[in-house]
């Protein structure tokens, strides 16, 4: 009944036996315990479940778990370093007050990370394009866009 899948989760190889019809979000939140990935709508409309698969931001609620075989997945749990050190983007979100209820935050941060990983010098328009699929009801997005700009500047400074 169960099908074994193997993939890289946050830098480590994982194997898990799953029912074939499951979505990636079910496997992440269920057997793998990665509850930082949030389900906001289950229809790919809100972006709360965003994860990064092979460098691309993806709605894990629309992604069949079987298709992740052999790929590399980054969830919000994979962003912080050991000993609870936050990544630059996460820290920027905290410092800019880009968080309220926090339910959209992991997805928002992963969309921002996928953008900055592929385009280290995004314009404000690029940032808004990258975050277009991530809904937030609390913040009005102002401080979120500011946080991504700040992270951009800091990451450039590091290089």
């Amino acid at each position: 009944m169960k099908i074994e899948i193997s993939f890289i989760l946050n830098g480590s190889e994982v194997s898990v036996g799953i029912d074939g019809h499951l979505r990636l979000i079910d496997v992440l939140r269920g057997p793998l315990g990665q509850t930082g990935t949030k389900e906001g709508c289950g229809e790919g409309e809100c972006g709360a479940c965003t994860v990064i698969i092979d460098g691309r931001a993806v709605n894990s609620c629309l992604y069949p778990a079987l298709e992740v075989e052999g790929k590399s997945v980054t969830t919000i749990e994979g962003l912080r370093a050991p000993k609870n050190e936050l990544s630059v983007i996460q820290q920027a979100f905290v410092e800019q007050g880009a968080i309220q209820c926090g339910f959209c935050t992991p997805g928002m941060i992963l969309s921002a990370k996928a953008l900055l990983d592929s385009n280290p010098n995004p314009s404000e328009e690029d940032i808004r394009d990258a975050l277009l699929g991530n809904l937030c009801r609390c913040t009005g997005y102002v401080q979120i866009v500011e946080a991504v700009k700040k992270a951009t500047a800091q990451l450039k400074g590091k290089k």
């Binding site: 709508c41 936050l86 926090g102």
Partner: protein
Amino acid sequence: MTDFNYIGKKTSRPDGSDKVAGKAHYIHDLQRPGMLYGKIKFSDHPHARIKHIDTSKAEGLTGVRAVITATSTPEIRIGFLRDNFALKKDKVRQYRDEVAAVAAIDPEIAEEAVDLIQVEYEPLPGVFSPHEAMKEGSPLIHETDAQGRARTDNMVPLKFHHESGDLKAGKNKAKSLVEGEYSTPMVQQCCMGTAGCIAEFDMSNNLTIWAKTQIPFLAQRDFNRALSDMGLPGKNTRVIVPTLGGGFGTGLDTHAYEYIAILLAFQTGCPVKIVYTRAEEFANLSPRQSSTTKIVQGCDRNGKLTFREVEVLQDNGAYTSWGATYPSVMMMPATSLYRVSNVYFNARLVYTNNTYCQAMRGYGNPEHTWALESNMDELAQEAGIDPFEFRIINRNQPNETTPMGLKVSTCGLKECLETVAGKLGWKKKPKKGKRTGKGMASLIHVGGGGRIYRSDASGLILKLDDFGNVNVYHGGVEMGQGLHSVLTLAIAEALGVRPEKVLINPTDTGTCPWDVGTHASRGAFMACNTAILAANKLRSQIFELAEELFPKEAEKNLKKFMKKNPDYKPPDFDVSKAAKRERFELRDGFVFIKEGPQEPWLRIELGRLLRAIHFRSQGQMLTTEVFYDPPNELPDFEKGFGNISATYAYGAQGAEVEVDTETGEVKILRMVAAHDVGRVLDPQGLKGQIYGALAQGVGYALYEKLESQQGKILNPNFRDYKIPTVQEMNFPIDLEFIETDDSYGPFGAKGVAEPGLVPTAPAIANAIYDAVGVRIRDLPITPEKILAALKQLKQIK
């Protein structure tokens, strides 16, 4: 201005790091050992008799642990008029009515089982608008009231009425007069985290419920009553509030799904979790009510308002939630936004077979301010006065009492209006050929609690430990708005410790003192007032005990210091003599003597002093509890009088828009928001509150409407129900905070949670009128409505 250590300084919210790391745990993330999953069977009709429910197939499904209906469980009435039921027995009155429920070992089996439940209905004619429902001979939604008395019409038995002055005289005095009817749609709160709970009984039949609520203590009362209905009188409910994925009013009532989880948990003896899907949330969680407001206002030749007459009609839907009391808040702007005597206000609520409604941020104020501030612009035009000048002429002022009896303490409305006009370049004409325009609108809102219940209080417990930590127990709910940020700052400021030593515990009715609920923009106002009271009590206790213990600790310190610095000569200072309670100070976690020598050994770390207080014969631990009930009144809403809040928040917003006359599209070019917040407590959090509320106001103005046809929600998803994305919010927002330093406010602050969305829609509508000369009186202002109005305008011309 007072010099603060932490208040008003840039800080990061205490839950920020956990939230960005995915470590905040919402109801969706919680599990209990042996937990079952509940699922609800909703009605297939908006109005029908339930003839028979067949649950046999569902019961036979492997993995199902319980199937319940109203006939197999005790009757539990819910809602503050008790006109609703956890499960419906004889008839359904709306599509979302709960007719049966299942508990199973996983969510998929639960869903399959629900689909196997067969319900036989006898459809009844439905009514889907207040006007239809008020017609004579219209089908009755409720044949009897909660007491079993026969009902003869569909009017909700709640009265909201106000009359003051002499309306006729006011009308006679008016030189200009404008009448208008303005309407607002049902809109959804759209919390990103959907609703849900886990219910669990212990072997004594006491209940623990993890609930997405804003009213843990009123919920405890409601659930205890349900336990009594279930044959468990005297049993208790412990309500624990997990991290909330937004609230916006959805947590102001207890909900049928919570009672169903309780019934399933009791039946199965297992914890039961129910979490709504997004489609369920849209279709089955109560939205903001739709309303129609008729308003007539007049002014004299100098532009002074001479009267205001308001009639509100609200579609209540099938049952009554606290949200039905929106008119209690509408009354506030109706009687008290701008100086006006001779006021008439009346609101009627009507049962229909539409989804029943509940609270949403602003609670009637956005609806009413939409009508009032649109009408103010129309009246200004009629009178030939600039809309900004017209507002300045009629503005509220400090220390006035309004027709409703609101006692205004501080009022920064004039400054707010002037800021908006200044920043918007009010007098500047738009460039030729551009269809751009500017508009503004004002607001009044409760800023010092809002007494709609017999107690408007909030308690706080501070427990100091051996390490100088301040463990905090507060009954208010952090739902993202930043309550715990300001509470942390207030405790740090008032007590004199560093913010990182303030540790806030989860909201739990078993450990926290009572609080009426986190609504009415009262969270920060209440929590910070309790913080000041509690801190003052603790400081007195610490300083009293320090009279004996401080000198001893200082002496030990001095000895150590001398060992390290053999040449040190201590100043000639008698510590024991100086160690008097009134001379102590506590700052940044150190106790020292005011105006004493600033020697390092004369600064005792708080934790050390607390250990000295603890570890001695007949030692003590310091814990303090305070309870703060603000100086406001429970108004008589049938007469429309009473000072509902200790202080009032004011504000104004302005918009500049461009209208495409070909497509009817509105583009917001920029917005200005100026708010009288009393005092800025947490600058970053405050900005977030206003930005976020304003975005909800933009959605209300231009995009959002829960479409309902014959009681059925047609757009239960984010594809068809559009909330603003980062692209719609792509315009500059200029924020300005007016600090009026209110004497009732903690550190001078007023509540700010709701004001940010109250004037947004009329400011945008007024700007649209300025741009293209069409007045849309029905929200949301869609391109279709603009095009239709432009067409009509052309025909008239």
